[in-house]
C-alpha cells in the first residue's frame, strides 16, 4: 500500500480537523481534569456523528470498511485538539478483536453497536507495567472471570471489554459484557481518560482465543491500537511545535523575538525533526497492516511518537517560561495527555522489547 495520501484521505484529514477545532476548547477540557469519570461528550458525539467510530470496521457489520490509514488521520487531528475521550482507540481495539477472533454471533451482537458508537469498548490486557503479562491478574475458569484489571482506560464508561486472562494452564483472550461488572474510578492526572479498575467476580465471559494464539492476538490488537495512538501522539506533538513557534515569533525579550535566540529556535527545529520522524513512521506502519513486518513498524511508530510528544510537551512549556505552567493556558493538558498516551497500550519499555525481539530474530 502506498504511503502517499490520496484525495479522499486528505479530505478526511481536513474535515476532521475543521470539525474538531470548531467543537473543542481549552476551557471545555480544563474542568474535566478536576472531576473523576467525566469525559468531553461533544467530542464523542462528534465521533459518532462523523462516523469515525465506524471508519475502520467491516461494512458487513455497520462499518465503513476503511482502515488504519484513515483512522490514523482522524487520530492525528484528535491529538492536535486533545481528544475528549479515549473510546475511539479503545473501541477500535475491542471491535478489531471481535472482528478478527470472534464468532458470527459475537460480531452480530457487538460490531454494529461499536460501529455506531452506542456501545463503548475497552481493552484490559495490562498488569501495571506489563502490557502483556505472562500471568495476568484476572483468571478465567469455567467461562467466568475473577480478579481485578487495574487502570483500564475507558473502563469506567465501557460496555464491553476484551480481557487477557489467566486460563487453565494457558492465557485466554476473553470477551466480557461490562454492564454487571463493578468498576472503581481511578483519580488520574488526565481524568477524561475514564480510567477504572474492573473487579470481576465470576463475570460470565466468552473465549476469543487461547494459548499462544491468545497472546499473539492480544499483541496484534495492541499493535493496531498503538498505531492509532502514535498518530494521536504525533498530532499532539505537531500542534505543540506550532504553538512554540508562534509564541517564539511574538514573545519578545531583550528587544527581539525569543525565536531569534538559537537555544529557542534550535529546540523548535529539533521538535520539527521528532514530529516528522514520528509522522513518517506512523504513515509507514498504517500502510503495513496485515504485512509480516506490521508489529515492527507499529513499534517504531509508537516509540518515535511517544518520544516526540513527551519532548514537545517538555520543550513547549519551557519555551513559554512562567506563563507556560499556568493552569489557564492549558499547556499542561498536553503534558498530561502525552503521559497518559505514553502508558496506554504499553510504555516505551514494552515496545522497545517487542521491537528488539524481532530485530534480533528472537520472535516471529
Amino acid at each position: 500500500m502506498t504511503i502517499l495520501y490520496d484525495e479522499g484521505q486528505q479530505a478526511i484529514a481536513t474535515e476532521s480537523r475543521r470539525v474538531l477545532e470548531a467543537r473543542t476548547s481549552t476551557d471545555a477540557l480544563l474542568p474535566l481534569l478536576e472531576s473523576v469519570g467525566d469525559y468531553h461528550r461533544p467530542f464523542w458525539d462528534t465521533a459518532k456523528e462523523q462516523g469515525w467510530t465506524a471508519l475502520a470496521l467491516p461494512e458487513a457489520h455497520g462499518g465503513l470498511g476503511l482502515g488504519l490509514i484513515e483512522l490514523g488521520l482522524i487520530a492525528h487531528q484528535a491529538g492536535r485538539s486533545l481528544s475528549g475521550a479515549p473510546f475511539l482507540t479503545s473501541g477500535f481495539g475491542a471491535a478489531k478483536a471481535i472482528e478478527l477472533y470472534g464468532s458470527d454471533a459475537q460480531k452480530a451482537r457487538w460490531l454494529p453497536a461499536l460501529a455506531s458508537g452506542d456501545s463503548i469498548g475497552a481493552i484490559a490486557f495490562a498488569a501495571g507495567p506489563d502490557a502483556l503479562p505472562a500471568q495476568p491478574d484476572v483468571t478465567f475458569t469455567d467461562d467466568r472471570l475473577s480478579g481485578t484489571a487495574r487502570g483500564v482506560s475507558g473502563g469506567l464508561a465501557g460496555d464491553v471489554a476484551i480481557v487477557l486472562a489467566n486460563g487453565p494452564g494457558m492465557p485466554v483472550l476473553a470477551l466480557v459484557d461490562l454492564n454487571d461488572v463493578e468498576r472503581t474510578p481511578v483519580p488520574s492526572f488526565d481524568n477524561s481518560r475514564c480510567v477504572a479498575n474492573l473487579s470481576f467476580v465470576g463475570a460470565p465471559a466468552e473465549t476469543l482465543a487461547v494459548g499462544t494464539a491468545a497472546r499473539d492476538a492480544a499483541l496484534h490488537i495492541l499493535a493496531l491500537q498503538a498505531v492509532v495512538t502514535a498518530h494521536e501522539q504525533t498530532g499532539g506533538a505537531e500542534v505543540l511545535m506550532e504553538i512554540a513557534r508562534d509564541y517564539a515569533l511574538t514573545r519578545r525579550a531583550f528587544g527581539q523575538p525569543i525565536g531569534a535566540f538559537q537555544s529557542v529556535k534550535h529546540r523548535i527545529a529539533e521538535l520539527y525533526g521528532l514530529v516528522e520522524l514520528a509522522r513518517a513512521n506512523c504513515i509507514h506502519a498504517a500502510s503495513r497492516e496485515g504485512a509480516a513486518d506490521f508489529i515492527t513498524a507499529a513499534a517504531a511508530a509508537r516509540l518515535s511518537a511517544t518520544e516526540a510528544y513527551d519532548t514537545a510537551a517538555r520543550d513547549c512549556v519551557q519555551i513559554h517560561g512562567g506563563i507556560g505552567v499556568t493552569w489557564d493556558l492549558g499547556l499542561h493538558l498536553h503534558m498530561r495527555r502525552a503521559r497518559s498516551l505514553a502508558i496506554e497500550q504499553g510504555s516505551s519499555l514494552f515496545w522497545e522489547d517487542v521491537l528488539v525481539d524481532r530485530l534480533a530474530g528472537e520472535a516471529a
Binding site: 535566540f261 519551557q318 499556568t326 493552569w327 510504555s347
Partner: protein, 401 residues
C-alpha cells in the same frame, strides 16, 4: 564528636520531638489555611528553641552561628515534612535584604523579629508579565508623589503574596535612561490601599504564586532600600542569595532511593525492573550526577567555613538537578505502567513521582530558567560574549514593546 556533630544531634533530637505535633502525619488532610496556622506555631517553636535565624546576628533575634550550623539543621529538618515552606522565601531573601538595606533600623528590627517568629511573612515582587527572564525590562513604575512615591503596575509569579504582610519590590523610577539604570528598590505594605493580590493556579493544580496589582499605591521615601536608580544591583544580590539557597541534588523531587525501591518492587517482563539495564542506566547516571552536586555543595560549605568564596559551580545544582528530575519522574510513571495513572494533586513532589513530574517545569523556570542559567555560566564564568541585545543602551521608553 565534632562541635558540628554535637549540634546535629541536638537539632535532630529537638526536631524528632516536634514531629508528632507539626510533622508530615500531623498535617495530613489539613486545609491550607490550617496548615499555615500550624506552620506559624512551628516557626514560633523554632524561635523559642533557638533554631530560627541560626546564622543571623543575635541583635536581630538570630543565633549568631555559622552557615554550616544552618545547613546542618536544614538537612535534619527536611526529613520530617514540617510546614516551613511558607516562610522559606520570606526568611530566605526579602528579610535578609531588609536587614542589610533597610533605613529605619528600629522598624527593621521589629519586622525581622516578627518574621522570625512566623507572625509576619514577606514576599518578593520582581517578575512582570512582559518580563520573563528579562528582569531589567520591568514596567511597574514609581513616580515622585509629595515627599514619597506612587506605584502603578503589575507584578506576577509572586510566591505567597496572598499570605504576605510586606514585600520587597523593584520598580522603574526613570524610563528615560537605559533599562538597568532606571530601577529603584523599595519595601511595601501588602495591606496598603491599592494593592490587589490574585492567586495564579499552576499546572499541578495548586496556587501558591500570585499576580499583584498596584493602583496609585502611595509610599513614603523611607521605604526606599536603594539609591534612586540603583535598584538593579540590590535585586541581583537577592537573586544571588536565591540561587545559592537552591541546593537540593534531588532537584526538589524525590530522593533516588525512592526510585530504586520502585524498581525493586516492580516486575518488568516477569523480572524485577532493577535488573533491567535501561533502569539501571538511569539509576547510575542520576546517582553520579547527584553525588557530584552533593560533593560540590559540601565543598562550597567547607570553603565558606574556611573563609573562602565558593566557585561558580554552585549554580549548576538547579540547572542539572531539576532537568533530570523531570525525565526520571516520567520514567517512574512508565515504570508503573497503568498503575501510573493514579494522581493526588496534594501529594508532595518530594515523595510522589506524578507530583514531581507535573511540577518539574515550574522548577525549570522559577528562579532563573535553564537558558538564563546557561547564559550566566557562559558569560560570567567562561567569559563568552553576551547574546545580541537590540535594547542594549537604549532609553527604556524607546524600546519597541
Amino acid at each position: 564528636m565534632s562541635d558540628l556533630e554535637t549540634y546535629r544531634a541536638k537539632a535532630a533530637a529537638w526536631l524528632e520531638s516536634m514531629a508528632p505535633t507539626y510533622g508530615r502525619e500531623a498535617r495530613k488532610g489539613l486545609a491550607e489555611a490550617d496548615d499555615l496556622e500550624l506552620g506559624r506555631r512551628y516557626q514560633k517553636a523554632k524561635f523559642d528553641a533557638g533554631f530560627a535565624g541560626i546564622n543571623w546576628p543575635t541583635e536581630y533575634g538570630g543565633q549568631g552561628l555559622g552557615h554550616l550550623e544552618k545547613v546542618t539543621f536544614d538537612a535534619e529538618e527536611m526529613k520530617h515534612g514540617f510546614p516551613n515552606f511558607y516562610f522559606g522565601i520570606s526568611l530566605g531573601m526579602p528579610v535578609p535584604v531588609l536587614m542589610q538595606f533597610g533605613s529605619d533600623r528600629d522598624f527593621v528590627k521589629e519586622r525581622v523579629l516578627k518574621a522570625l517568629q512566623g507572625e509576619e511573612i514577606w514576599c518578593q515582587l520582581f517578575s512582570e508579565p512582559s518580563g520573563g527572564s528579562d528582569l531589567a525590562g520591568l514596567r511597574t513604575k514609581a513616580e515622585p508623589d509629595g515627599n514619597g512615591w506612587k506605584i502603578n503596575g503589575q507584578k506576577v509569579w509572586t510566591s505567597w503574596a496572598h499570605y504576605s504582610d510586606y514585600g520587597v519590590i523593584v520598580v522603574r523610577t526613570d524610563p528615560t535612561v537605559p533599562k538597568h539604570k532606571g530601577l529603584t528598590y523599595f519595601w511595601v505594605d501588602m495591606k496598603a490601599p491599592g494593592v490587589t493580590v490574585r492567586p495564579i493556579k499552576l499546572a499541578g493544580g495548586d496556587s501558591h504564586v500570585n499576580e499583584v496589582f498596584f493602583d496609585d499605591v502611595k509610599i513614603s521615601d523611607d521605604h526606599r532600600m536603594s539609591p534612586v536608580g540603583g535598584g538593579f544591583a540590590v535585586a541581583i544580590t537577592t537573586l544571588m542569595i536565591e540561587r545559592y539557597v537552591a541546593t537540593d541534588s534531588a532537584g526538589f523531587g524525590p530522593h533516588l532511593d525512592l526510585f530504586v525501591d520502585l524498581a525493586k518492587d516492580t516486575l518488568l517482563n516477569g523480572k524485577p525492573a532493577i535488573e533491567d539495564g535501561r533502569i539501571r542506566h538511569q539509576i547510575a547516571r542520576n546517582h553520579a550526577m547527584r553525588s557530584g552536586l552533593d560533593s560540590i555543595n559540601v565543598r562550597a560549605r567547607l570553603m565558606m567555613q574556611a573563609g573562602m568564596i565558593p566557585g561558580a559551580e554552585g549554580s549548576l545544582n538547579k540547572l542539572v538537578a531539576v532537568r533530570s528530575r523531570q525525565k526520571l519522574s516520567e520514567l517512574a510513571i512508565d515504570l508503573q505502567g497503568t498503575d501510573g495513572f493514579a494522581f493526588d494533586e496534594h501529594a508532595s513532589q518530594k515523595e510522589d513521582w506524578a507530583s514531581s513530574w507535573i511540577n518539574a517545569p515550574t522548577g525549570r523556570i522559577a528562579g532563573g530558567s535553564d537558558e538564563t542559567l546557561l547564559n550566566t555560566i557562559a558569560e560570567k564564568v567562561l567569559g563568552l560574549p553576551q547574546d545580541h541585545r537590540p535594547d542594549k543602551g537604549i532609553p527604556f521608553n524607546q524600546i519597541p514593546a
